[in-house]
Amino acid sequence: MTEHYPVLILLVPLFGALIATLLGRERQLACWLTALISLGVSSIFAIGNICVLLASGEGELRYRMGGWNENSGYEVGIELRIDMLAALVVAVVVSVGLINTIFAKTRVAGEMREKVAFFYALNQLLIVGLCGIIMTNDAFNLYVLIEITSLTSYALIAMGNRRAALSSFNYIIMGTIGASFYLLGVGYLYIKTGSLNIDDIHTVLQSGKLWGDASITIAFIMIMIGLWIKMALFPLHGWLPNAYSYAPGVVGSFMAPLMTKVMVYVMLRVMLWLFGGAYIYTSGLVWGELVVWMSIIAIVAGSFLALARTDIKKMLTYLIVAEVGYMVGGAWLADGAGLVGSMYHILSDAAMTFCLFLAASIVILRTGDHRLTAFNGLFARMPLTMIGFTIGGLSMIGLPPTCGFFSKWYLISGGIAAGHWSYVAALLFSSLVNAVIFFRIFERAYFGNIKGVVDEQLPDDGDGAPPLTLERVPLSMLIPLFLAGISVLLVGFYNQTLVSWLMDVIPPL
């Protein structure tokens, strides 16, 4: 049984999506239960995966889809490969999906109207796609899964208002360019190596004979540009802020923490396990330096753009742009600590972005105001929600014991070890800007007057749902926020364990 965990993580929500579609619009509660159960079962398998990995001590699990040709000697069929990093990211993805499903319960009828069943179906499909991206060991399969994930996210974003439809359209254009570039890169790799299995390609490339080849260079550039568009690295980030901030609240809250992080994971996978550290860092290419500078620009620009926003969600989305810069920079420092920091930051950034987006959704919903003025006096009126927001905010700034502190710690020590002081400076600068951004909000929440918001005449949030009063935040929204806040703290407390697991994952550079 245990050897089938990887594929069960994918199959359970896949069939859950089918069932949710078949149940249709009349049975909203049944759809919700389907999503809840399938993602719950899936997250049990994801945790089981981690336990199996720890118990086996082998470092990776392999699963052959359909039992194809295990003994034939040449690679046919699709393989799943799970190391500790993949197992952890899968667990984060599935549990964020699960917690967000709980969060969606009271909200989804108001935001989606007659499309509730489709929301739950697409929600589960997106989780399937993301988990598939993380686990697959086949370069072309990776493309298909990236497109499955993107298609579901285009549809989910377009479920919002008319601005969301326009943002989704722009996302389709950008996303298709990104995925097609990746596909082209895989094509050039296939010409030269004759295989699509990531391990096979790696074995062929490792000898170093092909390093100087123009096809490999083109393939590398194409794949990287494609992935950078998908993960919204700074000059290519244009689609992200609108798509995530105009998306329906329950969609944005789980897409924002997951999509970019999983794409960063794919970049790490391509760098270390497809091309290999030797090609990336030591083959005499100047890209390492160049990309670290790009990430520095991304960090600084993302922080400034976030500082300039008065819209809560827009501000958070620009913070994501800056965080992507952290991870890309850490990955390209060519230093073990930087790589571990980058991997650890995937986990911690997912937790803290999720926490912030959940809190922001509740605040926007309750105050009916999507600007920073919504926070005026909120510590007195919504103390529980604000505690969640504070934990997320402190983690963004990087205060211990939240996970944001530890990931910055590892990234900065990587930057120092690699001697890249400008990267260290950019990280510290971004911390300062985040401190300004969040303490500005905390100040409003403590001392701001609440004249602007009157309980009796809360503005309608435009989707026909009855305006809710400020005090009564339903438990189905508060519990997810607490779970997210606790996970921010737990990822921080157990940083040594996580980092020691991740250390073992990194192949020798």
Partner: protein
């Protein structure tokens, strides 16, 4: 003036003709996606762009003098090299590589569904904005516009 040198076209363009076409098509598609103002024209550019990549993949499976990869009657179904009579051995160079073509079946499906979704979304945009011209939509969204 390398381009005018004798034999340049014969050496570089003619044998790699389909690759040149794929690059040109891809650039046309990319140009339309980025610069066109009308959303449907952007989508046409997207379709051209994706088709160019399909052309590239189909090209890499082709070999000179090769046929379609279907086994005739009596041919053995595995590729064997040594220890078998030569009549049973399948000559790999006689068949086009089917793998890139199969991959493109999947890519075509992905492309069609992307296009379908994009058309559905542009229909929603048309219903709510009453236009498909990007500048007119942005005019409506500007704070001073009639929104």
């Amino acid at each position: 003036m390398e381009f005018l040198a004798a034999g340049f076209i014969e050496d570089n363009i003619v044998p790699k003709f389909n690759y040149w076409i794929y690059v040109i098509l891809m650039m046309i598609g990319l140009y339309a996606m980025i610069t066109k103002n009308n959303l449907i024209k952007k989508l046409i550019g997207m379709a051209v762009f994706q088709t160019a990549i399909i052309l590239f993949y189909v090209s890499i499976g082709v070999k000179a003098e090769s046929g379609i990869p279907i086994l005739g009657h009596g041919q053995h179904h595995e590729i064997v090299d040594e220890g078998r009579p030569s009549s049973e051995v399948i000559a790999k160079e006689k068949f086009a590589n089917p793998l890139p073509h199969v991959l493109m079946l999947t890519a075509i499906v992905v492309g069609v569904s992307t296009l379908g979704l994009a058309l559905a979304i542009s229909q929603r945009i048309y219903i709510s904005f009453d236009t498909l011209e990007e500048d007119e939509i942005l005019d409506q969204l500007r704070p001073g516009g009639h929104d």
